[in-house]
Amino acid sequence: MGIFDTIIYVLSWVSILSGSAFLIIGAAGIIRFPDFWSRLHAASVIDSAGMALLLLGMMLQAGLTLITVKLFFIGLFLIITGPTSTHAVANAALVSGSRPLGDDSSPTITPEQVAEAVTQTPDPIEEEPSKL
């Protein structure tokens, strides 16, 4: 086992251990945080740091093979889809009128205004009439 292999081994141990720590921290945050808007932060820890570090550790273990390419594509999809779906959840919660805990000031945009603005944007289903 050369010095290069030892470095790769130690690096993959470090990234897998820290990725596991980020996963458990994020899951504990999702349980412990008081309202939905703070739980979003904890969920993004899982989606970004935990996922990236675990995949990096697996890539370092796999070496330059087809497995690394598959892991790279899994990471690419998760990086694209994770923030998109988190944004969709947050937007849906905002439209439904949910507000952060302790936000007693009257919001500059009321939930009714947000709902109205969303309703007035044309629905893609109804936008194009069927051309039968």
Binding site: S12, W13, I16, L17, G19, S20, A21, L23, I24, G26, A27, A28, I30, I31, F36, R39, L40, A43, I46, D47, G50, M51, L54, L55, G57, M58, Q61, A62, I67, K70, L71, F73, I74, F77, L78, T81, G82, T84, S85, T86, A88, V89, A92, A93, V95, S96, S98, I125, E126
Partner: protein, 98 residues
């Protein structure tokens, strides 16, 4: 050993997420927990493949990553519009009042 640690911590994180999934007060908490659970599932499938030395599992993980995204958006759209695609059969409440 390395992947055993990863699988164990993923398992702990998934159990914690299940608690929030069951206890979540609103539907958005549950969707958030399902989304994070899906990410954990993708990583779990990959790490299990490495643990049992069958990295072919990564294909399944790739498929699951795509399905998880579409599933989250489908749930959100359903709870907003009460329909997933064709809305012709849905009676719109506002139009009925008019």
């Amino acid at each position: 050993m390395m992947f055993a640690v990863a699988v164990l911590s993923l398992f702990i994180a998934m159990v914690l997420l299940l608690v929030r999934l069951i206890a979540g007060p609103t539907v958005y908490d549950r969707v958030l927990a399902v989304n994070a659970f899906g990410t954990c599932t993708v990583l779990f499938i990959g790490a299990t493949g490495f643990l049992f030395e069958r990295p072919e599992f990564l294909d399944i993980a790739l498929l699951y990553a795509l399905i998880n995204f579409v599933g989250t958006l489908a749930i959100l759209k359903f709870f907003r519009y009460r329909a997933l695609g064709d809305r012709s059969g849905i009676v719109d409440v506002d139009e009925e009042v008019r």
